[in-house]
């Protein structure tokens, strides 16, 4: 089971710059390492991370891209990403991780902007 820790302030003032933090559990296997038996460990990486913002009352909307990253083999296991955004209106932040072997994990966090 995949686990992720996402830290978003529950409430923010309009126009305030807030910090978002996201950690996801993933081995980030490079594909260059060998097991104790000498077999090559198959590559297993997260390739893409994205964070979209869906304004409240707009459930069908796919939202606007807030932040995205492409991840590579040199990134450690359980990658941690942190970024800032300006709080404009209340809504939901949707986090998405995608990677090798059909890996996909989604988290969403609601945020109220006053």
């Amino acid at each position: 089971m995949t686990r992720a820790l996402v830290t978003v302030p529950k409430t923010a003032k309009r126009g305030e710059i807030i910090e978002i933090r996201a950690v996801v559990q993933h081995p980030m296997e490079t594909g260059y390492r060998r097991s104790s038996e000498g077999d090559l460990l198959p590559r297993d990486l997260i390739r893409k991370f994205s964070c979209r913002f869906v304004e409240s009352g707009n459930a069908n909307d796919t939202g606007a891209m807030v932040f995205a990253a492409t991840l590579h083999a040199a990134i450690a296991a359980n990658p941690y990403l942190s970024f800032n955004l300006r709080a404009a209106s209340s809504g939901t932040l949707v986090f998405n991780w995608e990677g090798d072997n059909g890996f996909s994990h989604r988290e969403q966090v609601a945020m109220t902007v006053a």
């Binding site: 089971m1 686990r3 992720a4 820790l5 933090r21 950690v23 450690a76 359980n78």
Partner: protein, 253 residues
């Protein structure tokens, strides 16, 4: 006035005395600031991923008895101070057991479920979640005669030279603590952060995994997981670290 100043002097004397007495340091104090920051901040600490899993497992019904930890113990926050008292003598097992073995004992006797396999991520998560409830609490091994025997056996193992490299735990962790072994600082071996997220492992691991790692490093044959020898060593280390504060989930290089 005179009385107050005497009291003040005595207080300062006592403070300096306790400071002078306790030269013990957690592995945390030997780490680089960046690694310390990783441990201090729960939103960054990767060990929290395991803790989150453990907290969910706490409330999950399992086994033939279809019981969860909550059914007997209530909310996980009632576990405050529990982890600080392990390893301890168990009346059920009739020997000294560590927290992990206690969890497995609950699984077989209460939940009637299978024991967790060694170093299973959910098992470690549950142990980490329970230990986190005692964060900031001092390590307090109970006074039990049979535990004292285990601590004594553990002390003997701690001082015994092993392996082709012919080193005892004491040789490095008492005599050479603070000095360097390759690129790493040798800590004083106080088990205050376990289960830890170790950057080298890129995952959470138990104290027994760490002990076995050291044994392999001195080219000795490590004791098997769950063996009396490893639990005895754990009991001795807990006694050695008595009064130091728990900091789970710890992060170590």
């Amino acid at each position: 006035m005179w009385r107050t100043s005497v009291a003040t002097v005595m207080l300062f004397a006592l403070m300096s005395l306790t400071q002078a007495q306790d030269a013990r340091k957690s592995g945390f104090d030997f780490m680089r600031p960046a690694t310390q920051a990783l441990q201090m901040d729960d939103t960054q600490n990767p060990g929290m991923l395991w803790v989150k899993d453990g907290q969910m497992t706490w409330a999950q019904k399992d086994g033939a008895a279809n019981k969860s930890c909550t059914d007997c113990h209530g909310d996980i926050n009632r576990m405050r101070g529990v982890a600080a008292r392990y390893p301890q003598y168990s009346l059920v097992a009739k020997r000294v057991i560590n927290l992990g073995q206690q969890i497995n004992q609950c699984r077989t006797t209460q939940q009637q479920a299978k024991v967790w396999p060694t170093e299973h991520p959910t098992f470690l998560g549950l142990e980490a979640a329970i230990t986190m409830e005692s964060r900031g609490q001092p390590v307090t091994p109970p006074s039990q005669p049979l535990l004292a025997d285990a601590q004594k056996r553990g002390e003997t193992l701690f001082n015994q030279r092993i392996g082709q490299v012919d080193l005892s735990c004491r040789d490095c962790h008492d005599s050479l603590a603070g000095k360097r072994l390759g690129g790493n600082t040798i800590p004083q071996a106080h088990p205050t952060g376990y289960p830890i997220y170790r950057l080298e492992w890129q995952s959470v691991g138990s104290l027994q995994r760490r002990l076995r790692g050291c044994m392999t490093a001195v080219r000795a044959e490590p004791y098997p997981y769950g063996s009396t020898e490893l639990v005895d060593l754990e009991a001795y280390l807990a006694m050695r670290a008595a009064g130091m504060r728990l900091e789970s989930p710890g992060v170590r290089p």
